[in-house]
């Protein structure tokens, strides 16, 4: 090949790289290793984690849930045609991914109760960021009211990106476990100005069900959009955010087919009313036909996207989480109409059972009395960090120790995987570590 190009050696390939910039001695890294050695090293490293399952029975949630992943989903989601394809720029050879995304968009719209969904964002946090950006751009006003019931990490990410966009974020505090809407109390002492949007999570970070009817009424009265971060599992039982009048529905899609994986890759769910479709961030798949009139799919309304609008784009999203969205579509189809409802119901039953068992212990009290579905928060007589630490010694991931803003407490989530025997053992261990 070098001869064909008239080059003497491989080093001649770098003629354009100034000599002074070239690495004289290569990279300061270990030499290569066989796949077997690499896997053995990584397995040893992975062994220094304590696994949910065999090592720790998992009662932690907070946006990352220990749900079942059925064999069919694992097998299909690992098909190399899905795994090793690029973004579907050539639709004629990408109908597989495109149709799977079209089905995903349909499923997400049915769950969220609004008419259009994109082909995914990175995670729950990025979906919140994009929802806020959409609302601010549409309204032309920089203020957004964000409930303290929204996942604290998601709120932090929204704040991080607001440094660039200049959005003015006002926190709506929680009262009795649910968002104190400014009809009752204004945040801080100053009037925050007309908000472009109100962002609430339902059920919220503490697991409590929010009053979306009141939130929607407030949003309408202020000319603001209602942005709802929802839990797609709880949606198996709850009225959809769209039914309350939400403009944008976002969420974390990890519960459908994605293992805990230290938090990624997960799936940013993003859906909105059709009237906002021109501001939809990310990719959108639409149905069309080929030259022979056969049904076909293609990414559409491409003029919204960064590669065409460039500096005028309101989102820079390009690569997203397509494979996880496909996985989500497969798992939702595995569940189906009855399975999703059964899943939500089983989570709610297990949560009720666990909550009653913990509240029966001396000194364990609920943080709020508001109704919950699949997650709840309690105050413990000893610091929650200590509870988590001691419970790990007993073989349980007891939950998530809440940060100061919620007061000391423990956030507990119970999925369909938990049996009565596990929960009884958990409660018994809990009693022991409190003693």
């Amino acid at each position: 090949m070098l001869e064909f190009m008239g080059l003497g050696s491989l080093d001649d390939l770098w003629s354009a790289v100034p000599e002074a910039l070239r690495l004289a001695h290569g990279l300061d890294l270990a030499p290569g290793a066989s796949e077997f050695d690499v896997l053995a090293d990584m397995e040893a490293m992975a062994g220094r984690n304590r696994r949910a399952g065999p090592d720790l029975v998992c009662f932690a949630g907070g946006g990352a849930y220990d749900h079942e992943v059925p064999a069919a989903v694992r097998s299909l989601a690992f098909r190399s045609e899905f795994v090793t394809a690029y973004t579907p720029y050539q639709p004629e050879v990408a109908q597989g991914v495109l149709q799977a995304l079209f089905e995903y968009q349909t499923l997400l719209c049915r769950l969220s109760g609004v008419e259009v969904a994109n082909a995914s964002l990175y995670d729950g946090a990025s979906a919140c960021v994009e929802a806020v950006n959409l609302a601010v751009t549409a309204a032309g006003r920089p203020t957004v009211w964000v409930s303290e019931g929204v996942h604290p990490n998601w709120r932090e990410v929204v704040r991080t990106f607001a440094a660039g966009t200049g959005h003015d974020l006002v926190t709506l505090p929680l009262r009795g476990g649910v968002t104190a809407l400014p009809d009752d109390v204004l945040p801080d002492d100053e009037s925050p100005g007309a908000p472009a949007a109100i962002l609430v999570q339902h059920p919220n970070y503490l697991g409590c069900l929010e009053d979306l009817t009141a939130a929607a009424r407030l949003a309408r009265s202020r000319g603001a959009m209602l942005l709802v971060a929802f839990d797609p599992v709880a949606a198996g039982l709850l009225r959809s955010p769209g039914a309350y009048g939400a403009d944008v529905v976002v969420g974390e899609g990890q519960p459908f087919g994605t293992p805990l994986s230290l938090g990624g890759p997960y799936l940013g769910l993003f859906a909105c009313r059709l009237e906002h479709v021109r501001r939809l961030p990310g990719r959108l798949v639409g149905e069309t036909v080929d030259t022979e009139g056969r049904r076909a799919y293609v990414t559409t309304l491409r003029t919204r996207e960064q590669d065409i609008r460039r500096e005028k784009a309101s989102s820079n999203v390009c690569t997203n989480q397509t494979l996880i969205a496909v996985c989500c579509a497969i798992q939702l189809s595995w569940l189906g109409t009855t399975g999703l409802r059964e899943l939500a119901l089983r989570c709610a039953r297990a949560t009720r059972y666990t909550r009653e068992a913990l509240l029966a212990l001396d000194g364990v009290v609920p943080i709020a009395e508001a109704p919950v579905l699949r997650e709840f928060a309690v105050r413990t007589p000893i610091p929650a960090e200590v509870v988590v630490e001691r419970m790990a010694e007993q073989g349980f991931l007891a939950g998530i120790a809440l940060g100061d803003e919620y007061g000391e407490g423990l956030l507990v989530a119970v999925t369909e995987r938990r049996t009565r025997a596990e929960i009884d053992a958990y409660a018994a261990a809990f009693e022991k570590v409190l003693a």
């Binding site: 064909f4 190009m5 491989l10 770098w14 003629s15 790289v17 910039l21 290569g26 990279l27 270990a30 030499p31 066989s34 796949e35 896997l39 990584m42 720790l56 079942e68 059925p70 069919a72 299909l76 899905f82 795994v83 090793t84 690029y86 050539q90 004629e92 990408a94 597989g96 991914v97 149709q99 995304l101 499923l107 049915r110 995670d123 996942h151 991080t160 990106f161 009225r239 959809s240 805990l260 994986s261 230290l262 639409g286 149905e287 036909v289 030259t291 590669d307 784009a313 999203v317 390009c318 690569t319 397509t322 189809s333 189906g336 089983r346 709610a348 059972y353 109704p371 988590v388 995987r417």
Partner: protein
């Protein structure tokens, strides 16, 4: 010569019928699901949740058996091109083969079954992996510290711009402009806007590189920095990079390295040595994380020492006893991800880097650049080559003359190439080249595959408009009506056939 390994025109197809949607396959009360026996009380929904919150009707989804579910999605995979099937010379996307080792590494139960909010004492293995990967990425790029949180390249860009902003703000400066070249990816200007800056576009010179004189005129103390891809999107190395860096630093600006094309320089030169202050990497390009049909990727950002205090946190940090803890840098811009980034994608890249080692990564760059230069030579005289001089990992050719002579456009070449059993190159980018075809063969395609690809491109260049306008004819669908999709939007199955 042996047969090419990267050509997929033999891929079997059972027919060219439409695949029904999962909703059309649905039959009431058919199901695939099952759950563990839990022995818990079987409370009704109304016992558990106040009725005003309950949806009286279950959300209608598809109702299919596991058998029909598996068959449906398997048939969809048969309508999908992928790297595992054949060559994917999509310029700027670095569609290299993804070693199967990385699948196994990312499936280790000790990595997948770990809750992100578990205390550090329970996740020491992950923290070690992430800290080691960050260190390795710094060695590869010549930087000081890194965050692994950004989940994609564009997220990395925006993180980098927010770091730039935090740096200037901390020094009491308000700057409003960021310079990008006219050949930049679209995510660059979009990220600049979201970072709160205005884009200033610097033109390319006759050699396809940044016009240094024009840049010098644009630089002043209102410029926060410059975003560059090097090699640039024409596949050309910015030879004046040292002078560019000096000029930007002289006005107090920072240099941002868009790592989209890092594959070309692995082990050869490093952004840190060129003078860059902030670097993002696309692990889904350079480090073989598969693209998943459009993600998940990973876009870590590495910075020089003076910017390290601003990195997103928390970062895994080793104590004297070798125990890792999470620590947030003192001037952190804050989190940019719900948790710690696309962790399993990071584990894949880690496996890839360990398997290659420092020596192997250098060979990756050599083969990538060798292959792209060979293609440029091979296609000389077949297509126009706007910048016919040594390129790096990709070469940009033009169908402008083909269009003039025979009415064959870049898009026609792309569609015809699909029939030849190859994925198409990137077309109509960079925007500075008329009828551009941007070809990035990557290091993993063999000489046999490269020759077959070149021969196919050569055949197509000899064809007339009437030969190519019907292409592709051998694919699951023929040319797709994109205008109709936008004109009469059908974003869901329900928009097509309303349920109510």
């Amino acid at each position: 010569m042996s047969a090419p390994g990267g050509r997929a025109s033999s891929a079997p197809v059972m027919g060219r019928d439409e695949e029904p949607t999962v909703f059309e396959l649905s039959v009431p009360d058919r199901r695939a699901w099952s759950f563990r026996a839990t022995d818990l009380p079987e409370w009704d929904a109304a016992d558990l949740v106040p009725t005003e919150h309950l949806d009286p009707e279950p959300t209608p989804l598809a109702e299919v058996s596991e058998r029909d579910l598996v068959a449906h999605f398997t048939r969809l995979t048969h309508r999908q091109y992928s790297v595992d099937l054949g060559a994917y010379p999509l310029g700027s996307c670095t569609m290299k083969y993804n070693p199967k080792l990385c699948d196994d590494a990312a499936s280790l139960p000790g990595l997948t079954d770990v809750h992100p909010a578990a205390p550090a004492a329970l996740t020491q293995g992950w923290m070690e992996l992430l800290a080691d990967l960050a260190d390795i990425l710094c060695r590869i790029t010549g930087m000081h510290a890194a965050t692994l949180q950004p989940p994609a390249g564009a997220a990395g860009e925006l993180t980098g711009l927010l770091l730039m902003r935090a740096w200037h703000t901390h020094r009491g400066q308000t700057r409003t402009k960021v310079v990008i070249p006219d050949s930049a990816h679209g995510t660059n200007p979009a990220s600049v806007t979201l970072g709160g800056y205005q884009t200033v576009t610097v033109p390319s010179d006759r050699r396809g590189c940044v016009d240094l004189a024009a840049l010098r005129e644009q630089l002043d103390d209102d410029v926060a920095g410059i975003m560059l891809t090097n090699p640039n999107t024409l596949g050309l190395f910015e030879e004046d990079i040292a002078a560019i860096a000096r000029a930007v630093h002289d006005v107090g600006g920072l240099l941002y390295y868009d790592g989209a094309n890092l594959n070309a320089i692995l082990g050869v030169t490093r952004p840190g040595d060129m003078g860059f202050d902030i670097v993002h990497m696309n692990l889904h390009k350079t480090f073989a994380v598969p693209h998943g049909g459009g993600g998940p990727g990973a876009g870590p950002v590495a910075v020089s020492e003076r910017l390290a205090p601003f990195l997103p946190g928390p970062l895994p940090v080793a104590g004297d006893d070798g125990t890792y803890r999470w620590q947030t840098p003192e001037l952190s811009i804050g989190r940019v991800h719900s948790w710690h980034g696309n962790a399993l994608a990071l584990a894949r890249a880690y496996a890839y880097i360990l398997a290659n080692g420092g020596d192997g990564l250098r060979r990756v760059a050599e083969a990538a650049v060798l292959n792209a230069n060979w293609l440029r030579h091979r296609l000389r005289g077949v297509y126009d080559i706007p910048y016919d001089r040594p390129n790096m990992h990709e070469c940009v050719v033009s169908a402008a003359n083909l269009k003039k002579r025979a009415g064959v456009r870049a898009v026609d070449v792309a569609k015809r190439l699909l029939e030849e059993g190859f994925h198409a190159p990137t077309v109509y980018f960079p925007l500075t080249i008329d009828e551009a075809l941007m070809i990035e063969p990557t290091e993993t395609e063999s000489p046999q595959t490269l020759e077959a690809l070149a021969a196919a491109l050569e055949r197509i260049a000899r064809e007339s408009a009437s030969d190519v306008h019907d292409a592709p004819r051998t694919t699951p669908v023929s040319r797709v009506d994109e205008a109709r999709a936008a004109r009469s939007l059908i974003p869901t199955w329900d928009a097509r056939e309303p349920r109510h």
